[in-house]
Amino acid sequence: MRRGLFFILAAPGAALFIFFFLIPLVVVSMDGFTGGGSAFLRVLRSDLFWGGLRGSLILATTASVFSLIVGFAVALHLSRIGEAARTVLVFFIALPLTFSGLIVAYGFILSYGRAGFVTQMLAMVGVDPVTFSRLLFSPQGLAFAASYYLIPRVVMLLLPVFVNFDKAQFIAAESLGATRGRIIRDILIPQVLPTAVTAFCLIAAVAIGAYGTALALVGTQVNILPLQLYSMISETGSDFPAAAALSLLLMAMCSCIIAIGEIVAARHERQDAHAR
């Protein structure tokens, strides 16, 4: 009886999982493996793929490092201000998370594009609009735009760590003879590091997989894997097995990065449980 009830209650969730996660995944996998995995070979043998992988990794690393540094500083600051001010600021910081990547891209084009507001302002003091706007439509520009929605993720992850951090530790460390630098190095960083690594891996995976902002900003001019996939599906659209194979590779990469983050965090905690 109770077992029956369990299945009834679990059914909607299971159906959702099967129809909208499992089946698409299986179909894509089957598609990718038609021809005995030759689609994977086709993808891996093309220079376009390796160029795209390189572009994606550069983009993800740049955007993630930049976002982590900014997010770290923002979270640290937020943890130090009053609760009311923090709530208001967190609301605004979290806002970009709800935006579509296209909107972010459009906002950046309106601000930093060839006729953008900031570009025009800079033009008045002699900055060439064409050169300046080209920055936005480059992999670096892409990384900059990606940071727009990556930084909030870092802040959301790190803020609880900073807020819950017992600041009396700083005073204790100082009374024991530690300088400011040593306190940050010996006391703060080791306690924040596991979460920072997790945050880095999470946003790196997001940056590798995201394509909306990139597509809107640079079309398919910059070679990154999601845009390659996009053009394989939509434009040239001839080799679907290869597109499926690329999807699986992209998915595997993102999963690996997330897994690395989790493993590092877990190992750090284990290390904590024993003496170093």
């Binding site: 017992d166 005073i171 009374s175 530690a178 904590d272």
Partner: protein, 352 residues
Amino acid sequence: MSEPEYTIALEGVTFTYPGTDIGVHDVTLGIRPGELLAVIGPSGCGKSTLLKIIAGFVQPSHGRVIIGGKDAAGIPPRQRNIGIVFQTYTLFPHMTAWENVAYPLKLRGQDQASRRAKAVDILGRVGLGTQTEKLPAQLSGGQQQRVALARALVFDPQALLLDEPLSALDAALRVEMRDEIRRLQRMHHIATMHITHDQEEALSMADRVAVMQNGRLVQVDRPRDIYARPVNREVADFIGQANLWTGHITGPTNVDTPFGALTTLPHGRNTGDTVAVLVRPEGLLLGRGPGGVNSFTGTVTRDRFLGSFRRFDFEIGGVTLLGETGDMGEIAAIYIPPTSIQLLPETGSAQS
């Protein structure tokens, strides 16, 4: 070089928090080498501020802080070489017990082997020899406080500051830790300032007790002297159990109280003065006094049996007196010997 008389000396130290009158005012106080000085007072009386001033986290606006014979002005906290134990332990959660204790040694550039040996040794002395590899989260509150104590002592600081170190522990453990702190403090012969709001803790542990009120030091004395001769009504009330009444002087050896006239020793006060009349509970004797002096009949309204003694409320004409005695018999009358009566200033820090 001769040892200065005081390891830590405060000379007319004043500090108020910006925009308020809260802080400490004109505090002059010394802690002798090897002495345990308890600073006691109600919340907000400035005792923690005093600790912050000595530790160097707060700079006094007036007065001098002298540590080890040297003016500490301009010396940052990390260079003052003072061990501090905080109320909340403040152990570093990512370090094991021995790493926590060894951290000040690491900061002083000692190699790992020697700092580990020292940390393990002192942890053994606080009874944690088998817990050295544990993380703070794996230790109980009492054990964490022992680690904190070991960490504050391991680098041979010139003084030890204890900021309500026992208030987060449960009652039984608190009593045990009192003895532990006292034992270590004696063993290290280290000048110690112990901040507390628990008068029993202060009286039982300290060589001398300093009582603070509203940011001012009102009395510094040995525990028994503070109890026996408080300088004013607030101190009398704060330290130990007390019967306190407002009284009026009616003669050279007479004072009027809400429950009747009392004969005192010659007090040298003017007739008509208002005073606080103090009688400690053990000063109340059973029966009638010689010649009926200060003798009263009344009724016992509460009687608490506390093992070797009892504490009772004795009502005389609507006024309740608190008494303590080892006599378990009936109580029909009490008397107050003149030697048990003290007249104190009603309020303020005036000398008595």
